[in-house]
Symmetry: C2
Subunit: 142 residues, 2 copies
């Protein structure tokens, strides 16, 4: 079902400062910056590698306010890994299959993710404490 580790989602207080750190320390490159009002974050995708199942990224997330999910995460846990995103071919189908195994879904239907992807989150309590995201990348224009 999983095609790749699509991204590691990392919560931080200062997006620009953390981008500069990942660029200068590890040589990663920002390929996308977005504000996602629905999820309450501004974010950047930093490209790590290409694979048979698509690209992998570090996703840096800064909350738009303390009341957002990522804002509450930072207040409770501090900066660190917020979630893991795995690539799938068809997020709707993957959700059905996973729900059929008894895993609770945060999103029963896909919503808008980074760089045009269709995404959905699974409930961390049913995935061993890991907030797990499914990512269906947009079809590349040929």
């Amino acid at each position: 079902m999983f095609l790749r580790i699509d991204h590691v989602g990392i919560a931080c207080h200062d997006l620009e400062e953390k981008i500069a750190f990942y660029e200068s320390t590890f040589g990663l490159t920002v390929v996308s910056r977005e504000v996602n009002e629905e999820q309450g974050v501004k974010e950047a995708m930093l490209h790590v590698a290409e694979g048979e199942g698509g690209a992998s990224y570090v996703q840096l997330l800064e909350p738009l306010s303390p009341e957002t999910a990522v804002g509450k995460f930072l207040a409770k846990r501090g900066e660190g890994v917020h979630h893991i995103g795995y690539g799938v071919a068809d997020v709707t189908r993957a959700l059905q299959e996973i729900a059929g195994k008894g895993v609770r879904l945060i999103d029963s239907r896909p919503r808008h993710g980074s760089m045009g992807a269709a995404i959905a989150f699974l409930h961390p309590k049913d995935v061993g404490g890991v907030l797990t995201e499914l990512v269906e990348a947009p079809r590349r224009s040929s």
Copy 2:
């Protein structure tokens, strides 16, 4: 510097139970099981994908005792993402380069990791709360 997201390291209470979950729910396959006395864990590597820079895995970690690093992590935070491992071509060289940027190292020299890799950890306080591992995979025999 980073060739791939080598693995997501996930701490759990019951390795066999979590392996069964990842296999049955997400279709991943165990490719290696090891006990690493030095790190105080028994672990399994589940293959996710192949990429231009090598393979990516989910690494499940069960502590050998409550006094180990992963045991203490579980007591404090509960199950969840413990660390992120990134592939590098030369871990000794990467450590020198990263230390030169002012990032503190947990391991100033490489040690033994999963599946014959040479690995080293960076200090999470200098990497935005993320326990970050460098992984130099063993050369494949041709």
